[in-house]
Amino acid sequence: MSARSDAALRLGSITKVYGEGEAAVTAVRDASLVVTPGQFVIVMGPSGSGKTTLLSICGALLRPTAGQVWVGGTDITALTERELPGLRLRRMGFVFQNFNLLANLTARENVRIVIEANGVRRSAADARARELLGQLRMTHRLDALPDQLSGGERQRVAIARALANDPPLILADEPTGNLDSKTGYQAMHMLELLAKEHGKTVIAVTHDHRVQDVADLMLWLEDGVLSERPPEEAELARDPVCGMVINALRAAGRRERDGEPLSFCSEICLERFDREAARYPSPE
């Protein structure tokens, strides 16, 4: 077997440009990556750096402008539009920040329909949905509608749905973004468990720098450029505009002045700096 089919996911020089001409935005630049089966990968980076774009490309939801994506041994950029839904149904599971459950369906039905869509009979699909929800400790809430569930419970239903057809690859975009920190860690550990105990390949985007210890691979995305480690260790930096002390890894953006890296707490400070850099002396 070639290295290509050994990899759970492989990106070959991916570039994604939104729009055209003057309005063109390059969200991902020439990103390459190999993820082996069972790895738990965490992607971090400032807002707007292209994380969601990258994840959408891995999940066959978005076609890259250039480059190739292999999932298992399949070059998914070579597939037709008609072939993609089936690929997503069987080979991928998605977990979203806002859960995205169907509002009119119960927890169990939300999971069941995805199994049924893969051609499984209703009774068998229902049994599997129960089993999955049971594994996620949701047995007592099988017939609840999403708006009767807490955020953490909804995310567990969403994870059960992602596992519905036992896909090798799980993609999660800020799965903890709408959860409090305790529930958020719980969700992260569930994803970790999927990788470590069930051999799933998990790629999760998060803003939470504390989860990096559980990851097999930490990726840093900035201005669409993918690298394997953050520019610096997680250290504190002072925003030169507002003077706030922030974690450099969670900065909304970065600039460089006289070879010295600058971190900004938010887009607002970044904009102010870009407009009138001279007003803001480098922090001591």
């Binding site: 959408s56 939801l61 839904p85 089936g86 997503r88 149904l89 979203f96 920040q97 169907l102 869509a117």
Partner: protein, 372 residues
Amino acid sequence: MGVGTSIAWRNLARERTRLAISAGGVALAVMLILLLRGLYVGITDQATRYIHSVGADLWVAQDGTPGDFFHSVSIIPETAEEQIQSVDGVEEVVPLLSLPVVFRLGSQEVDFRLMGVDPVSGVGGPPGVSAGRRTPGPGEIVVDRVFADNHGVDLGDVLDVRGLSLRVVGIARGGNAVISQFAWASLPDTRPLLGAEGVVNYFVVQTGGGPPEEVGDRITTGVPGVQALTEDEFTDRNTADLREGFLPILWVLVVIALAIGVAVIGLTIYTATVEKSREYGVLKAVGFSNRTLYGIVFQQSLTSGALGFLLGTVLSLVVASGVERLIPSFATSIRAGDVGLAAVAALAMALVSSFVPVRPVARVDPAQVFRA
């Protein structure tokens, strides 16, 4: 019954107002179709009940006239009776007078179509009576129930019909031809009103063995100045007005009803789909094909259509029987064929309207689901 069915059912069950609106729209359209058709059939039935009740194999009228009761004066010499009788296959020939009569009844001017029937055989008499006798003898008349109700006429009353004193001996049923009513007197009594001797208006013919059409052809070709019509042909000619005047309007209304049904389901299913476009995006993202999603939309509109059809049919039957009880002359008759037509119409409404949200479904971008 795929995975789309359960999603469609859940959406409908949890959004009942929406289902009620779309099913209600279809129900109204179905009611419009059924009641209009029912009214048409009912009126046609009434208009032809008398003809059917006579049970003649052939109606012989003057040649070269439309042949019906209402548009023509059919004049045939009495001598034709023997000629018709001698045609091969003819068993019985009975003359009939038929003339519109306007006369004063108390202070008002009233009218009916007076049939002069053979007092011996009673052929051509009323379809049935609700009171009194069926066959009028000399100096007697049978009037229709609707005429009697409208003008306060009762058994034993004496009507002065253009100088002729006729005593009411029967109140008939089934003699309401919608715009006018039939009345029956004996043929000799009626003749002075016709004002001509030696002629009659129709001959009613019974044939023996063989198809009546063939006997009719022989009469038409063999007896000069007459045409023989089968019962179907004669009924047809008597309802031509209704067909030509009422049916086109009816079809226009049916088409409008269809369009309204399509618009109502189409609009509700469209807004439902657009409101749910995020969910459709999620389903696409997790791997549902466009076809499955169209299936969800189609099953929702199909269910609305089916429910609307049932509701509309039941309501139509209720309304029709209610109206008939209130106004007996206002006959509606809802036939199985028309219920079938309404079912096809409801199906068509569901089918057409399910195409309305095809574009928004196709346009949903699954990549959007990662964006809050």
